[in-house]
Every structure is written in structure tokens, then in C-alpha cells.
């Protein structure tokens, strides 16, 4: 149980202020503000279509917000594409995993930022060796290094996507339903990984449907409904039912403890 001992007097790692984005007149995200501190896990909860994935895609550079601002360590930044996000040490594990099925694990791990030799050529040996190292840490049973990732199981594919986010020294990690495709054992592995990353001072946004996951893994939870922020609460101060009420009814449970 993550009893929150996060220091929130310091500058937040991430502040998303007053973010709006519309698609064809639909306010997918409507004046939403969330923040994240070092070593903290903030859960983003809500129904399908509540806007949580859209909000987070603005942070990861997949979408550009119509208005609002993003601050990293108190400094305003422009994130116009996934490359910008990566340069701010923001890494994302997408629900779709964003893997090129036709390529092997190492090629996927380094997709878009391949290791190169001194001649500027892709260095497959170095990439595979690095891939073996990190997979040895994350998923020791992983052996299929020579095969395209289409030949892997759901859990193995997930671990490739996680490895990609962790490998490049992320300071901010976005996990979109990281355990949706996993069995109990692998889910446990992801939980342990989150604890470990937290201890290293990495901030994590965890998008989830699963209230149980959020109660167990997160320090705070921000709940969205119909594109609007219902509220942000400290999970230590609320019950499962409180969160459920926020998700379903959009009802805030009393005072906003976590502000």
C-alpha cells in the first residue's frame, strides 16, 4: 500500500494547466489541470471516452492541445511531437504498445533512436546486447530475441514496450493500461517495477480502469468524466466507493484533500 509520503512543497515534475482539446466540436479534454511530483504515482481514472488517454497523449506529444500549458520542473515547455516529449525525458507505454510487429525486440526497443557504430550504421550487435541486459532485468524468462515481436505472447510484447520506456532513463513515465493484457504473475511484475521506479524518483502517470490497481499503486488519483476533471484525491483518504462515485456520478467526495 502506497501511503503517500510525497513532498508536495517542491516544484512539481509535471504541471498540465488548463488543458483543452476538441475534436470536431467535441470537448475531449475541457480545462483540465493535473500535476505530478518526483517519486509519485498519479492514477488517471475514468470511463472509456472520459478523456484520460487524450489528456496524456498531449503530454506524450501524440496530440497538440488547443490551449493550456505544460510545465516540466516549473518551466514552460512546448511538446509538439513524440520527439519533443522524449527530449524532456517523458516516456510512454501505450495501450496499443506501439510495436512494429515485423521487427525484433531489439529493433523495437531502439525504434527511432537506434544505436549506431562510429560509421553511423545501425549497430545490431550492440542493440541486441543492450536488449538482453534490460530484458534480463525486467523479464528474465524472455528468450525470443531473434524473432519479430508478432511471434511473442501478450506479456512478452508488453515487457518489450515497458523496456523501451524504462531503458532511456525516463524521469516522467506514462503508463496507459499497462496491465490490461497481462496475467496475474506479470501484473505483479509490473507492480514491483512501478515501486522500484518510484523509489528512483521517477514520476508516473498511470491510466487505469481498475480501481483496485489505482488504490494499490497510486499516491493520488485524478478522475475524469466527459472530458472534465472531477477531482484529484489522495488515495489514502478515500475508499473504493468514493472513487467509483467520482467515476460514475462525477461526484467529488467532500473536500479536495490533495490540492
Amino acid at each position: 500500500m502506497a501511503k503517500s509520503d510525497i513532498n508536495r512543497d517542491q516544484t512539481p515534475l509535471v504541471e498540465m494547466r488548463d488543458i483543452c482539446i476538441s475534436f470536431g466540436g467535441v470537448h475531449a479534454v475541457d480545462h483540465v489541470s493535473v500535476d505530478l511530483y518526483p517519486g509519485e504515482v498519479v492514477g488517471l481514472l475514468g470511463h472509456n471516452g472520459a478523456g484520460k488517454s487524450t489528456l496524456i497523449k498531449i503530454l506524450s506529444g501524440a496530440y497538440q492541445g488547443d490551449s493550456g500549458e505544460i510545465l516540466i520542473n516549473g518551466e514552460r515547455v512546448e511538446i509538439n511531437n513524440p520527439r519533443d516529449a522524449r527530449s524532456h525525458k517523458i516516456e510512454t507505454i501505450y495501450q496499443t504498445l506501439a510495436l512494429a510487429d515485423n521487427l525484433d525486440a531489439a529493433s523495437n526497443l531502439f525504434l527511432g533512436r537506434e544505436l549506431v557504430t562510429s560509421f553511423g550504421l545501425v549497430d545490431d550487435d550492440a542493440m541486441e546486447s543492450e536488449c538482453r541486459k534490460i530484458m534480463g532485468r525486467l523479464n528474465p524468462n524472455f528468450k525470443k530475441f531473434a524473432e519479430p515481436v508478432s511471434a511473442l505472447s501478450g506479456g512478452q510484447r508488453q515487457s518489450v514496450a515497458i523496456a523501451r520506456a524504462v531503458y532511456f532513463d525516463a524521469r516522467i513515465l506514462i503508463m496507459d493500461e499497462p496491465t490490461a493484457a497481462l496475467g496475474p504473475h506479470e501484473t505483479q511484475m509490473v507492480s514491483e517495477l512501478i515501486q522500484q521506479l518510484k523509489a528512483e524518483g521517477i514520476g508516473i502517470f498511470l491510466i487505469s480502469h481498475d480501481i483496485h490497481d489505482v488504490m494499490e499503486l497510486c499516491d493520488r488519483a485524478s478522475v475524469m468524466k466527459n472530458g472534465k476533471l472531477v477531482g484529484t484525491v489522495d488515495v489514502g483518504d478515500v475508499t473504493d466507493d468514493d472513487l467509483l462515485g467520482m467515476i460514475i456520478l462525477g461526484k467529488h467526495p467532500g473536500a479536495r484533500e490533495a490540492e
Binding site: 506524450s60 501524440a62 511531437n81 513524440p82 520527439r83 522524449r86 510512454t92 501505450y94 496499443t96 504498445l97 506501439a98 510495436l99 512494429a100 510487429d101 515485423n102 521487427l103 525484433d104 529493433s107 525504434l111 527511432g112 533512436r113 537506434e114 549506431v116 553511423g120 550504421l121 545501425v122 545490431d124 531473434a146 524473432e147 519479430p148 508478432s150 511471434a151 511473442l152 505472447s153 523501451r164
Partner: protein, 339 residues
């Protein structure tokens, strides 16, 4: 070198050898040295153009414009050589640059204008042929430059020049596809464009680059076409784009993108040309040749489909549950290291 020669070459190589064997057994003149030499000349133009067509297909695009672009470029080459007095040494690089630029325009329209490559290049297929007709009142231009023909018919150490072009350009293409970031990104864009965007790959730039390569290789083919016939004509290159695409498909490139080996395209081109050569030697009319070309394309795509179905079925029969049937259509490694 581990990725250049992989298991994906086996099928196209076997197909080429079987076709060669059948033609050799049924056609006595096939193995004459004169015919084999002629064969290598015949295959060179389509095989060089097919390099570009294949790389476009790797990135999940399609290039229908190359045949018409050949006609247009031979007319431009003829125009500058015959009527503008530009020397050959400058005219050839000029044509290669124009080819690359035309490819750039098609690629940019496709990638940045978000128009499907099929439509962009179909429009170009029609428009380039029309543009070719605007030169010299639509008439062919003959007898260009005596120094042009040796580019095609010349020999070094008894080996025809086109052989060296094939070795050079296929070597270069295999190098790009296997050892450069661009090559890796082309496979990634063809395999999963959405993932490529999310991992920070500039997908539009990569797509555009594939068309620049295709335009450049088409220009190489056009120069050789002009050299072969010492002329330019708005009628050159008819259905050449389809032969080039057929070479890619017979070579095992997946039209869905992301999968294939560039060297297999050379084998695909050889296979097609051997079949055509066999039909020629047996005095088959051109109508039959077109029907056969159509059948070969259908068969190659069919085998691609059946192969994945078959591997899925075999997987089920032998209980390899870790190879999901639903993903089998893309399960063949594009850059597999094992063979």
C-alpha cells in the same frame, strides 16, 4: 552481414531456379550463351526500377508511376541531348536528378498531402505519359548520341555493363535497408505506421524518401532504356511499373508493407524475365505474355497468403500456441537474423 542473406531469399531463389529449369528443359535455345547474355540485358532495366518499387512497398506504399516516368525521362534526355546540345556527361546526371525530384514531388504529395500513394502515382502514371507527349510534338527522337549506347551494350572484361549496375545498385540498396537508420525506419513505417509516429520517427519524411529513391532508380532505368534504343519515346515503359511491382511481389515483398528482402526482388525480376524469355523463344504472342504475367502476380500474392495460412495451420497442428494465427499475416520476419 547477418541480416542481408536470410531465409526470405530461399523461396524466391527456389522459384527462380524451378522456372529456369522448366524453361531450359522445354526450350533448347534457352541455355545458348547468346540468349543468356540477352537475358541479363533484358532483366536489367526492370530489375533496377524494381529496387525503387520494392522500397516504396516496404514502407507500405505503391508506385504506379515508373513506366510513364521512364517515357518522360527518355524524352527529356533526348531533348537535351539532341536539341539543346548538352553533353552526355551532364545530361545523364541531370536526368537522375530530375527523376529524384519527380519522386520527391510524388512522395511529398502522398505523405504530406495525405493522398494515398495508389492515387498519387496513378495520377502520375497518366500525367507523365501526357507530359512525355508534349516534347517534339509527341514523336520519338532518334539517334541521340553515339556515346550513349555503350552505357547499355558496353562490356568490361567481357561482362555486359548492366551487370555492374545491378551489382552496384542492389548492393547499395541492401546496404541502406540493412545497415542504416533509414532502412530500419522504412521497415518500421511499413510494419506499423502508428507505432513509428509514437516512437518519434518522422514517418512522412521516411515515406517521401522512399519515393525519392524510386524516382532516382526509375531515372537509372530510363537512361538505360534510351541507351538501349539510342532514342527517347513517349511510348517507352508501358506496363513497366507493373513488371517492377510484380518483381517485388514474386520476390516475396508483402504489399501490406514492412516485410521482404530487397535482394529477393532481383530474383523476382529474373523469374519474370525468364518466363517471358521462354515464351518469346517459343514464339508465344504478346497477348499470352500479358496473361502469363498477370497469372504470375496472382500466384505470387496467393502463395504469400497461403504461406501464412499454412504456417498458422501447421502451428495449430503441432501446438505452437505461442504463434498466434491471427498475427500470422505479419509473422514472417522482415529483418530476421536466423535462417
Amino acid at each position: 552481414m547477418k541480416r542481408i542473406f536470410d531465409s526470405q531469399l530461399i523461396g524466391p531463389f527456389a522459384a527462380m531456379m524451378i522456372v529456369a529449369l522448366v524453361v531450359a528443359l522445354t526450350t533448347e535455345r534457352f541455355l545458348n550463351p547468346g540468349n543468356l547474355s540477352n537475358l541479363s540485358l533484358q532483366v536489367s532495366i526492370v530489375a533496377l526500377i524494381a529496387i525503387g518499387s520494392t522500397i516504396v512497398i516496404f514502407a507500405a506504399g505503391i508506385d504506379l508511376s515508373s513506366g510513364s516516368m521512364v517515357a518522360l525521362l527518355t524524352m527529356i534526355l533526348a531533348q537535351v541531348l539532341k536539341f539543346m546540345g548538352i553533353p552526355l556527361m551532364m545530361a545523364v546526371p541531370l536526368i537522375l536528378i530530375v527523376g529524384g525530384l519527380l519522386g520527391f514531388v510524388l512522395g511529398a504529395i502522398t505523405a504530406y498531402g495525405r493522398i494515398p500513394a495508389f492515387i498519387t502515382t496513378l495520377a502520375a502514371l497518366i500525367a507523365f505519359r501526357g507530359l512525355a507527349l508534349t516534347f517534339n510534338n509527341g514523336s520519338p527522337i532518334f539517334s541521340l548520341d553515339p556515346a550513349l549506347e555503350p552505357l547499355f551494350y558496353g562490356k568490361v572484361a567481357g561482362i555486359p555493363m548492366p551487370f555492374f549496375y545491378l551489382v552496384f545498385f542492389y548492393g547499395l540498396a541492401a546496404f541502406i535497408m540493412n545497415f542504416t537508420k533509414l532502412g530500419r525506419e522504412i521497415y518500421a513505417v511499413g510494419g506499423n505506421p502508428a507505432a513509428a509516429v509514437l516512437t518519434g520517427i518522422n514517418v512522412r519524411k521516411v515515406q517521401t524518401m522512399t519515393f525519392v529513391i524510386a524516382g532516382f532508380m526509375t531515372a537509372v532505368g530510363a537512361v538505360l532504356m534510351s541507351a538501349r534504343l539510342n532514342s527517347g519515346s513517349p511510348n517507352y515503359g508501358q506496363t513497366l511499373e507493373l513488371q517492377a511491382i510484380a518483381a517485388a511481389v514474386v520476390g516475396g515483398a508483402s504489399l501490406a508493407g514492412g516485410r521482404g528482402n530487397i535482394l529477393a526482388t532481383l530474383m523476382g525480376a529474373m523469374t519474370i524475365v525468364i518466363v517471358q524469355n521462354g515464351l518469346n523463344l517459343n514464339a508465344a504472342p504478346s497477348s499470352v505474355q500479358n496473361i502469363v504475367l498477370g497469372a504470375i502476380i496472382l500466384l505470387a500474392v496467393g502463395i504469400d497468403m497461403w504461406r501464412t495460412e499454412l504456417s498458422a495451420t501447421i502451428g495449430r497442428l503441432f501446438g505452437h500456441s505461442d504463434q498466434p494465427a491471427s498475427r500470422a499475416s505479419s509473422a514472417k520476419p522482415a529483418t530476421s537474423k536466423d535462417s
